[in-house]
């Protein structure tokens, strides 16, 4: 049976990892390539690179970094950030990405999901959603969670699957950064409506949070950034802990 996955996320701006501090055993803590190698050796099941660059120069640096990483790390790589067109898909896939995650780009142009799925296959298209509770329902936000689109997140998730998204990233703005556990309620609401894998994001603070997530049977993978970067949670220990608690893990 396939394992649950643990996925560290690297935010990259102008070719450097943001928040990549406090690392031992790595020469350059802000080098995405070094960080990726470190996570690969720690047993990460997949890596997500998120490009938060605004400039063209930064974007060129990002694709260069991606190519270098994909040349040395042989686990699946997902890339997101600034993906607005098929050309953007093409650009990152050529640099060694396996999956491409769309967020605001799909909100602006929903047909991007189906066009990309047709061209590269469903398995390549990840729909990433930033979601927050508004007046008792789940709303999709865009531009890094700053703008309420008014879109219903449950409908958007179903639309995504129907149009060829192969995976969903559910990022709860309500729990993000709070480190008090994943948003189980939100994840359950979404995972009950779709059959594609759901990646939980936002809220992980300790290894018990991942156990709670997987025991609740509402996600196929847990994604986190700072708790791994700051070594509050060690991936190897986390995976051993989960396996000892009967969650299937690749170790």
């Amino acid at each position: 049976m396939i394992t649950k996955r643990i996925i560290p996320c690297l935010d990259v701006r102008d070719g450097r990892v943001v928040k990549g501090v406090n690392f031992e055993g790595i020469k350059d803590v802000a080098s995405p390539v070094d960080m990726a190698k470190f996570y690969n050796e720690s047993g990460a099941d997949e890596l997500v690179f998120y490009d938060i660059t605004a400039s063209h120069e930064g974007r060129a640096l990002f694709t260069d970094i991606l190519r270098q990483t994909a040349s040395e790390v042989f686990i699946p790589l997902t890339v997101g950030g600034g993906i607005n067109s098929i050309d953007d898909f093409d650009r990152v896939l050529k640099c060694g990405a396996d999956k491409v995650s769309v967020n605001s780009g799909a909100i602006k142009n929903p047909s991007l999901i189906s066009e990309a799925a047709k061209k590269y296959g469903d398995q390549c298209v990840v729909l990433s959603m930033d979601i927050k509770r508004v007046d008792g329902s789940f709303h999709v936000f865009q531009n890094g969670g700053r703008i309420d689109t008014g879109k219903d997140a449950l409908e958007w998730a179903v639309f995504g699957q129907k149009n060829g998204a192969g995976e969903l990233v559910v990022n709860s703005i309500d729990t993000d950064g709070v480190k008090n556990g994943f948003d189980i309620e939100m994840l359950k609401a979404i995972s009950e409506l779709v059959t594609i894998p759901v990646i939980a994001s936002g809220g992980a603070g300790c290894k018990e949070d991942f156990l709670e997530l997987f025991n609740a049977d509402c996600a196929d993978a847990g994604l986190a950034a700072s708790i791994f970067h700051f070594k509050q949670v060690n991936i190897k220990e986390l995976k051993t802990y989960l396996r000892n608690n009967n969650i299937e893990m690749r170790i």
């Binding site: 049976m1 396939i2 042989f74 686990i75 060694g96 396996d98 296959g121 995976e167 894998p197």
Partner: protein, 201 residues
Amino acid sequence: MIAIIDYGCGNLFSLSRSLEYLGIESKITSDADESANADKIILPGVGAFGDAIDKLNACGHADLLCSLASQGKPILGICLGMQLLFEKSYEYGEHNGLGLLKGRIYPLDKDIENLKVPHMGWNRLDIVRDDRILADSGKNDYFYFVHSFYAKNCDDCLIATAEYGVDVPAIVGMGNVYGTQFHPEKSGDKGLKLLKRFATM
């Protein structure tokens, strides 16, 4: 030198880079003459079976692979490349494969219940029979799978399976012809070890 056949089906960057990383000489090629002169062949592939076999025929590689296989040249098919080695596929219609291995390709969703398709993620091997390709691999190794169709009725060449509602053929092989349903080039250290084993056998 290993020829990685480029027939327009899939991204060959990781595969080519993983061989380079292992210090194994390889070349991405769509030229049948170049493939004929290689020591070994890797047939990659992502996409639809029908389209892929048409393209293999168009670039002259379908016949070539059959003759190289009979000459004893080691061939490794990966993912769709593995499926192409079989006799037939029922992926959106009915298509003839290369027929180098006995067995047929069927949709996974018809045979499993309550499991997601594609079968995507890390899965563990169950070894069916010992083989030299497994010299550095074992039943506790995980490999990365992404596929919606799978081989059936292929007992003759079955080396290892992965459990996903049914026993999914994960490694197949007969003589000098091998195939993996998973992506060794995306399966971390274990995947690299398997690639190295093929490259050096």
